[in-house]
Symmetry: C2
Amino acid sequence: MIVNFDTAHGSALIPSRGSNRLLASLPEDDLDHIQSLCELAMVDEGEVLYAPGQPISHLYFPLDALVCLLAVAEGRMTLEVGAVGREGMLGASVALGHQTAQVRAVVQRAGYVLRMEAGDFCREFARMESLQRLLSRYTDALLAQAIQIAVCSRFHVLEARLARTLLVTRDRLQSERFHLTHEFLAHALGVRRVGVTKAASALQQQGLISYSRGNIEILDAAGLEAASCGCYALVKDDGSIGMGSVFL
Amino acid sequence: MIVNFDTAHGSALIPSRGSNRLLASLPEDDLDHIQSLCELAMVDEGEVLYAPGQPISHLYFPLDALVCLLAVAEGRMTLEVGAVGREGMLGASVALGHQTAQVRAVVQRAGYVLRMEAGDFCREFARMESLQRLLSRYTDALLAQAIQIAVCSRFHVLEARLARTLLVTRDRLQSERFHLTHEFLAHALGVRRVGVTKAASALQQQGLISYSRGNIEILDAAGLEAASCGCYALVKDDGSIGMGSVFL
DNA sequence: CCGTTTCAGTGCGTCAGCGTACATACAGGG
DNA sequence: CCCTGTATGTACGCTGACGCACTGAAACGG
């Protein structure tokens, strides 16, 4: 779905131009220029924006959509290596030496995005210093998070990782309730669905969460944080490797 | 150990200025300027250049040294999330929003490095566009590798991961023989030493490698590649996420 | 209202890797 | 030549997660 940007802008229902934090931190002139090259679009839950090995034709700046990045192994198992909301963007690597996607990008929450042609972006990147600096910082933050995910998925038990994922999701969606099936969580955590069921019911029995048919509610955030691994404290926005460091 | 740069330069035993590929790809003026801010130093095997949480005071451009990056979990277990040789650098993140190190940087092979004050580097980074662009590309390449490592350490069995590590090491050191104890490999792979012993003896029984007291020799590189996971093909220099993409 | 789809729960055998402890074995220095 | 430190090999019980198969139950659409 594509929405005409000019008419859409100003509607109370559609996020405004400045609502992508990454773009918002550009100097005003550059911001305007970049946005003039973007079109507003809506993406639906489950939509696949990138697939591993496929060429990257567009870049995306989520406004209120949330996209998760899944690394794929042998075509079957997947592992979430990052997520992109309004604080970030997708496809930056196209200007940094990779023409094809390394990971699968799946829409976790439907919403609006700004979309841009890869070619246009590369041209702007080459001549816009503010953009280069911003992307350096952003990529570095993604790297830090990917490293933490590598450690976490290697050493921490599923129950703790699940707790972390739920807390991160809560922070991103700014809500104690959200929709996330065991199946989806299994893909994000790189485990079987039954493993999630087991871990989730353990958390539920401890009174930390409750869920039914994908509708998850966090009942005791503090308890959940105690049950999670320390990674949550590091990764959350004000943690030492949170996205906060991108926007000085 | 610090070596006077001017006298050292030109010696047949000491790598020349251009031998860091990352620096070498800078425009000549910028290269000269950066190098004027560097001092030549030697680092010893096992030396720890960065420790998690510690401030980053210096940046390093390895010449012939090899440094591996170990993410640390709970102070005990570690996992290699990258390695830096003459194609890369350490500490770039200091100019990108992180004042402290996230990972432990340990010298795997002793050798020479160029060393630079963090403050000097940040100043140059702010005003040197060529450096920004280079760092964007390099950080993106590190991200790609970290993602692959996350997948690999999550889904692939130890024997295949060990094979991959040995092949990568061979490529970096350009030699079929090198020194690497089971203990060291265990830290890199994030497993127990006995696990490495078991996997290594399996590889040895298949006639792919031979080793004794840390002296490893690759006997059958093709066979070892067959025993490794597909990650090796991706990560090696000419693979889709190899470092080749950093240097156009 | 009923069939289909989606989501969650359970059971069972298997296995890789863990923690621990102990046993060799080679290397180099005094 | 012994002695000590480093490097490697072996054993044992444990557990978290795997693969697979099947059941139960709510939601949805015609």
